[in-house]
């Protein structure tokens, strides 16, 4: 039991998960789950109680029972006690102060990461403002490699997302060329397929690999099929660079995605065995998003932001190249408006980074959420300022397959110019070689290079 007194009133919180939920800044998903604080005062009372909580509490009280949930077992069993020593005497509030302090340098935070659990990171985020989340995350450097180097300071990478409602090869190729010209694709060229057909996924993988090889692009490609589909394709010899999977923060939610930790390990091992990376072997691409566990009715009475942080523990076990929080995709039942989406995006980026993950964010919204391009612009700028590893690049910000708005090639370009971020170094060299940079090294394509034109599949293929 946890408690805090405000004036004459004493607020009591039955257990750790209740304390975490009541301390969470308001969002519709927690209201839907019946977990939200009953008043503004109760929320801040919970934040006071949370700030006073010793970090060791999180090692002794699980929010989802250890016996029932393999994600909890992963978090507890893989906890690095040596790394934790540096902060083991602190409370949640003191950890926030430490992370903001000048002592917490990039290298200190890298060493600390395996000593922190997702619940500790989530707790700090609940008593932090957006500015704090930005400052703390910006100090984290998480670098990953496959065919290029992602996450170096001063860099902003882009996933090129050339989706098409019928997976038409020529339509996809046209979107890829548009994105490459505008400097997108250094994080990955990744297609969300319209169906989970293995044949279709194989055809798309082959097309992506051919484009990458013919243009000698220092990047990786991915078809975001279910992990079981990708595993089968690996077995059949398809050119798989990265294995993709959506993941969540409880065993039950992962089960609703058709996965467990053993399956992810099998996929990780199989993808590693292909040895397709030229400068590194980070081979996994994970996507997450607040609300997925509640949506699967597998949230165990835990707030959606804490569960999102627990998904990063799943990701962390497999040394991913990319982790992407698809923050506004789920809809207004979970994140109602631009304000809630903005906060969630910065929470996810902070929690992921402080846990040592290569975080990107899909800054996005659906048409039934109270959000628009102004909200997306603001969050994108805040994330770029926070040092986000990568964002999405969708033609004109309009994903015609998934039916939502994400960030465009132009958005990423504007952020690179405004906040002085460069693409991944190998990719930048490649852009220069194809004449896509101007004299000031800005990405300013003029005409389409002839090698690009040659890639367009002929009519009828």
């Amino acid at each position: 039991m946890y408690a805090a007194t405000v004036g004459a009133r004493r607020y009591v919180f039955a257990d750790l998960k209740t304390l975490l939920a009541k301390a969470t800044p308001a969002r519709s998903g927690d209201a839907l789950a019946g977990l939200i604080a009953d008043s503004g005062e109760e929320r801040v009372a919970a934040q006071f109680a949370l700030a006073d909580l010793p970090l060791t509490t999180f090692l002794n009280e699980a929010v989802v029972p250890y016996e029932d949930d393999e994600v909890t077992r992963l978090i507890i069993d893989s906890h690095d006690k040596a790394a934790f020593t540096a902060v083991s005497h602190l409370t949640v509030g003191a950890l926030r102060d430490f992370l903001l302090s000048d002592h917490a340098t990039s290298s200190v935070l890298t060493t600390l990461a395996p000593g922190l659990t997702p619940e500790m990171a989530a707790a700090v985020s609940k008593i932090s403002r957006l500015q704090d989340l930005m400052v703390m995350a910006a100090k984290c450097t998480v670098v990953t490699r496959f065919r290029d180097t992602i996450g170096l300071p001063g860099r902003l990478s882009v996933r090129l997302q050339p989706n098409h409602p019928t997976d038409d090869a020529r339509g996809i190729a046209a979107s890829i060329l548009d994105g490459l010209l505008l400097g997108a694709g250094d994080a990955v060229i990744g297609i969300n397929p319209a169906t989970d057909s293995p044949d279709r996924a194989h055809a798309l993988l082959s097309m992506l690999d051919e484009i990458r090889a013919r243009l000698d692009i220092p990047t990786q490609t991915c078809v975001l099929a279910h992990v079981t589909t990708t595993l089968d394709l690996i077995g059949k010899g398809s050119p798989v660079d990265l294995t993709f999977q959506s993941i969540a923060g409880t065993q039950g939610a992962n089960k609703s995605f058709g996965i467990d930790l053993a399956l992810l390990k099998e996929a990780h091992d199989a993808t590693l065995s292909l040895r397709r990376g030229t400068i590194g072997d980070n081979v996994m691409y994970f996507e997450t998003g607040q609300g997925s566990a509640l949506s699967a009715n597998a949230h165990h009475g835990v707030d959606q932001q804490t569960l999102e942080a627990r998904a990063y523990a799943v990701a962390r076990a497999f040394r991913p190249l990319l982790v992407n929080s698809v923050v506004g995709f789920i809809g207004p039942e979970y994140l109602y408006d631009g304000k809630q989406i903005t906060r969630a995006g910065l929470e996810d980026h902070f929690c992921g980074k402080i846990l040592g993950l290569p975080m990107g964010v899909d800054v996005c919204y659906t048409n039934h959420a109270e959000a628009d391009q102004d909200d997306a612009d603001a969050l994108l700028a805040l994330l770029t300022g926070s040092g986000v590893n990568f964002v999405m690049g969708v033609p004109g910000a309009d994903d015609i397959m998934l039916g939502y708005q994400s960030t465009s090639f132009h958005d990423a370009l504007a952020m690179r110019d405004l906040l002085h971020r460069k693409p991944a170094p190998e990719f930048e060299t490649w852009l220069a070689r194809h004449g896509l940079l101007d004299v000031q090294d800005r990405i300013r394509p003029r005409v389409m290079p002839s090698q690009f034109r040659a890639l367009l599949p002929a009519e009828g293929t």
Binding site: D168, G171, A174, E333, N367, H368, G396, D398, G403, H410
Partner: protein, 260 residues
């Protein structure tokens, strides 16, 4: 501003015109510096405004009821437990439940022997979609069903309903199958798309895997006649096999291929 500052370069203009035939994606957009030029910026704003207007437009239930009246069935108008649009968007659980008055209205229209099918219309996320497309699709579907001797229940309009509210309607009216026509989540290119969700023997344990769906019903997607044809065929298959959902899908697809 120099000419070099904009893309596509004049020489590539024809190329992008060709490429845009391959995809509805917004490719080859004119650029000013790193940013979108004014014309594509405003084109996007217009598409988003139309999608937003579609989400927030209120259903004109009396008008819809009068559009449906000529079909020769009584029309009942009820509402979900979500009292307004904002509650509807945030509380999917309330959108799946009827108000007590609505339950009462429907129970009063029930009869001793079950109806074969009940048709439900709900605004969902696009009132405009059902306002435009529901009557013509019903009309064409009923024509086929009546020929085959189906006994339909009164038509039911539900304000602010989710798909699963059809289960509650079918239970209250005592109908064996339910077809819910509902406004789909609007995309930028299709703000007025309607979906049809079909369920056989709906009840409290029904899940989404037990439903069949015909989506993207609109003049530029699946047309009215086509949609009516698919709905009637799925209902026929449901009556024959006594099931709906994932397991029925293949059979109905084959049926359609056979009839083509």
């Amino acid at each position: 501003m120099s000419k070099d500052d904009k893309t596509p370069a004049p020489a590539d203009g024809a190329l992008w015109t060709d490429l845009r035939r391959l995809t509805a994606a917004r490719i080859g957009l004119p650029r000013s510096g790193a940013s979108l030029s004014t014309a594509p910026l405003l084109a996007f704003q217009l598409a988003h405004a139309q999608a937003r207007d579609a989400v927030h437009a209120e259903l004109d239930a009396p008008r819809l009821a009068s559009d449906l009246a000529p079909l020769g069935l009584p029309v009942l108008t009820v509402s979900s437990a979500a009292a307004d649009k904002s509650t509807y968007l945030m509380r999917p659980d309330l959108g799946r439940r009827l108000t007590p008055e609505s339950e009462h209205t429907l129970a009063a229209a029930g009869q001793a022997s079950p109806y074969d099918v009940v048709f439900v219309v709900s605004d969902g996320l696009s009132a405009r979609a059902v306002q435009s497309h529901a009557a013509p699709v019903f009309s064409a579907t009923l024509k086929i069903l009546r020929r085959d001797g189906w006994r339909p229940a009164p038509l039911v309009i539900v304000e602010r309903g989710r798909v699963a509210i059809g289960d509650a309607v079918a239970s209250a009216l005592c109908a064996t199958c339910v077809v819910v026509l509902i406004g789909e989540r609007p995309g930028l290119s299709a703000p007025d798309s309607m979906g049809a969700y079909l369920t056989c023997k709906p009840g409290t344990l029904t899940s989404d895997a037990d439903r069949n769906c015909v989506s993207n019903i609109r003049p530029d997607g699946i047309g009215y006649a086509d949609a009516a044809y698919k709905i009637a065929h799925l209902l026929t298959a449901m009556r024959r096999f006594g099931i709906s959902g994932v397991s029925l899908k293949d059979a109905s697809d084959r049926l359609q291929i056979g009839s083509n």
